[in-house]
């Protein structure tokens, strides 16, 4: 049982905890709500009440009823080192640089702040490499690289289209980006959840027998 074996065990536990698709579904709704907030900032109140106060309890209740009886309950370790400032700053620097390069290539005027604003979807798309790196590291599943790649490409396409059609407001591009990513993630998450519920049956618990021993 060497260090690599332990890391693999931890990664397997993480992958199992993501099997029910709830995380993807929630992330999807989070993006959709972000798009709504972009459109109508007064919805921030709903975001706070629903996402921060109600949702954790609802998710736990759902998992207790549907997830844990199928694959079991696991509480993963939470290390303070999970929040790493240096890689985050490095990512911000890369995102800013690449957005600047893209702004120069697509518009020819990198010093115009309006052009930068049109590239917001691309910048957010690149930022999604942050969660990608985290998920790949935690789960050993390279498929999570796709998330950063797809969001970046989608962000670039939306930014390009909003540059192509000057009548499009710069915030509309960001709104479309968040809405599309949100809908895709929510649908993907719900499909994963449906597959999970169909594939994993509720295990016949023998807790009563064990407790009597």
């Amino acid at each position: 049982m060497n260090d690599d074996d332990l890391v693999k065990l931890e990664q397997n536990a993480f992958r199992d905890s993501m099997k029910d698709g709830v995380a993807e579904t929630l992330a999807g709704f989070m993006f959709i709500l972000t798009a709504i907030i972009f459109h109508q900032p007064s919805f921030v109140g709903i975001f706070v009440v629903f996402y921060l106060l109600l949702l954790p309890r609802l998710v736990e209740a759902f998992r207790q009823k549907h997830t844990y009886p199928r694959i079991g309950y696991v509480k993963l370790k939470t290390n303070e080192s999970d929040v790493r400032l240096l890689p985050f700053l490095l990512l911000l620097m890369i995102v800013t640089s690449l957005t600047g390069i893209a702004t120069q290539i697509l518009t020819g005027d990198v010093f115009n702040i309006y052009n930068w604003a049109k590239l917001i979807p691309f910048a957010f798309g690149l930022l999604m490499f942050g969660p990608s790196v985290y998920l790949v590291e935690k789960s050993r599943s390279k498929i999570y690289w796709l998330f950063g790649a797809i969001t970046s490409i989608l962000g670039l396409i939306i930014a390009y289209l909003s540059l192509l059609f000057p009548t499009i407001h710069y915030l509309d591009g960001a709104l479309a980006f968040f809405m599309l990513i949100g809908v895709a993630l929510a649908i993907g998450g719900l499909l994963k959840l449906a597959y999970f519920l169909r594939t994993y049956s509720i295990l016949d618990s023998q807790e009563d027998v064990v407790s009597e021993q």
Partner: protein
């Protein structure tokens, strides 16, 4: 309770099934019996008997509660269990000159 033999190998942990359980609990905060059963591929009875031995040795802490009116047993490695597992790994590495 320590279960070292002459070479410093903890016999409680050294048994393959219990090693799987302890290693699994070492990398997570806590887990229930269903999760451990799936990860270790042990039967419920087998898992239960090894868990009891680890509990008696003081290596794991067992919490019983009710979820959706059904009993649930949650396990986590105790501080003593964590130390014992780390010592076991060190001893194995030393023995094998890894």
């Amino acid at each position: 309770m320590s279960s070292d033999d002459n070479k410093g190998i903890d016999k409680v942990i050294h048994e393959p099934a219990r090693l799987k359980i302890v290693a699994q609990l070492y990398v997570v905060d806590s887990a229930d019996m269903v999760f451990l059963m799936r990860q270790t591929e042990l039967t419920w009875g087998n898992l239960s008997s090894h868990v009891t031995k680890l509990e008696i040795a003081g290596y794991i802490e067992v919490t019983k509660d009710f979820v959706e009116k059904k009993p649930r047993t949650t396990l986590n490695l105790s501080a003593e269990g964590r130390r014992a597992f780390e010592k076991y790994r060190e001893n194995i590495k030393r023995m094998l000159n890894v």
